[in-house]
Point group: C2
DNA sequence: GTCTATATTAGGATAGAC
DNA sequence: GTCTATCCTAATATAGAC
């Protein structure tokens, strides 16, 4: 049963997500969020007490969206190169749905006092098995030898960077046209896959 | 001859650079900049009239540092693959000197009303010859065939991303240790080069 | 050119009526 | 639960003495 409370809370969360994702914690204004949710500032505070708490709610939501993705598909018994392709696929698909996510997270992880650090520190233990598994694949000769950490960062960089730097890509590389940008970002799925495979397949 | 004016102006610029690079336009405080420059707020305004104008001065300075780099070395008569290696070398060297630059620019290019856009739009004409030259190298068979725009973004992503996402790399991939992070970033020079070369060299 | 003191505004937060 | 009105602090900016 949907009370009015639930309904308003959802409106607030939706509005806050939109605003915070684009402007970040420091750029966002409570007034703007209230306007977008078609309520007033006082009601924002009634539901979330403070800007910090509201922001934390949004940040947590987006983090749970972004981070757990890798692990899911990675530990199957498919050949390693296919698993890499799947990871790239999943990530680009996620980013096409949330293009502002990379810039948002980069902004946030470089902001002092961000709650993001609490979250980030825990992830160390989550990624160790992945690095280990990459090393195993290398030892089996499924992939060329290199430092697993650098492979991870290379894949992440190629997937994430064009989204974080969309405004530059759009205006510098393409000709300022939104539809060209969208097309370009969609192409990343296959482009990154092919590029990575060429770089890491044996011989 | 150095008047007191020059001296103070330099102190302000140095302090403002430090603060703005780390905190961005919205996170920085005039008081903090004044403190760092060992002067008071009023003097900041005496020299630069407003926070906006001061920020613009810093932004312009950093942009002129970051953007014109590529072109310089790119149009020599060296083999294409060697030129790519040189570009990577120059960029990673620049980033090791200014590790906060990527996050700063990503923050800024995603901020509405940023003066960065005026600058960014002009760069379209600067990069066209580079894309053309890449295409030529592909047609000559010096490199594998792909969309030049994606090659540029791949190189840029691998160079820039680990700097933009330093806090995450440090805590998630490495073990929260600053010296490990530094070592890792230095390794990027050779790692990126080798990775790119494997991905784009013919056959 | 540099300071202290003050004005001004913006923005987060609360009180209190309904 | 929702609103209007108001408070309070932080932050940019200016006035005016030295």
């Amino acid at each position: 049963m949907n009370t009015q409370k639930d309904n308003t809370e959802e409106k607030i969360l939706a509005a806050a997500t939109d605003i915070f994702m684009v402007k970040g914690m420091e750029g966002a204004r409570m007034q703007e969020i209230a306007d977008k949710a078609s309520i007033n500032k006082a009601l924002l505070h009634y539901y979330f007490r403070s800007k910090d708490k509201l922001f934390d709610a949004i940040l947590t939501k987006m983090l749970n969206l972004a981070f757990p993705q890798i692990g899911k598909v990675f530990f199957s018994d498919l050949p390693f190169l296919e698993r890499v392709e799947q990871v790239i696929d999943i990530y680009i698909t996620l980013l096409l749905k949330h293009p502002q996510l990379p810039a948002f997270l980069i902004k946030e992880m470089n902001r002092e006092g961000s709650l993001l650090f609490k979250f980030i520190e825990k992830q160390y233990f989550a990624i160790q098995p992945i690095l280990k598994e990459i090393q195993n694949a290398m030892d089996r000769g499924e992939v060329i030898q290199m430092k697993p950490e650098h492979l991870v960062v290379n894949v992440l960089g190629m997937c994430v960077f064009p989204f974080a730097a969309r405004p530059m890509i759009k205006n510098v590389v393409l000709n300022g046209q939104d539809d060209l940008l969208n097309e370009f970002l969609k192409q990343r799925r296959s482009e990154v896959k092919e590029f990575i495979i060429r770089a890491i397949q044996p011989q």
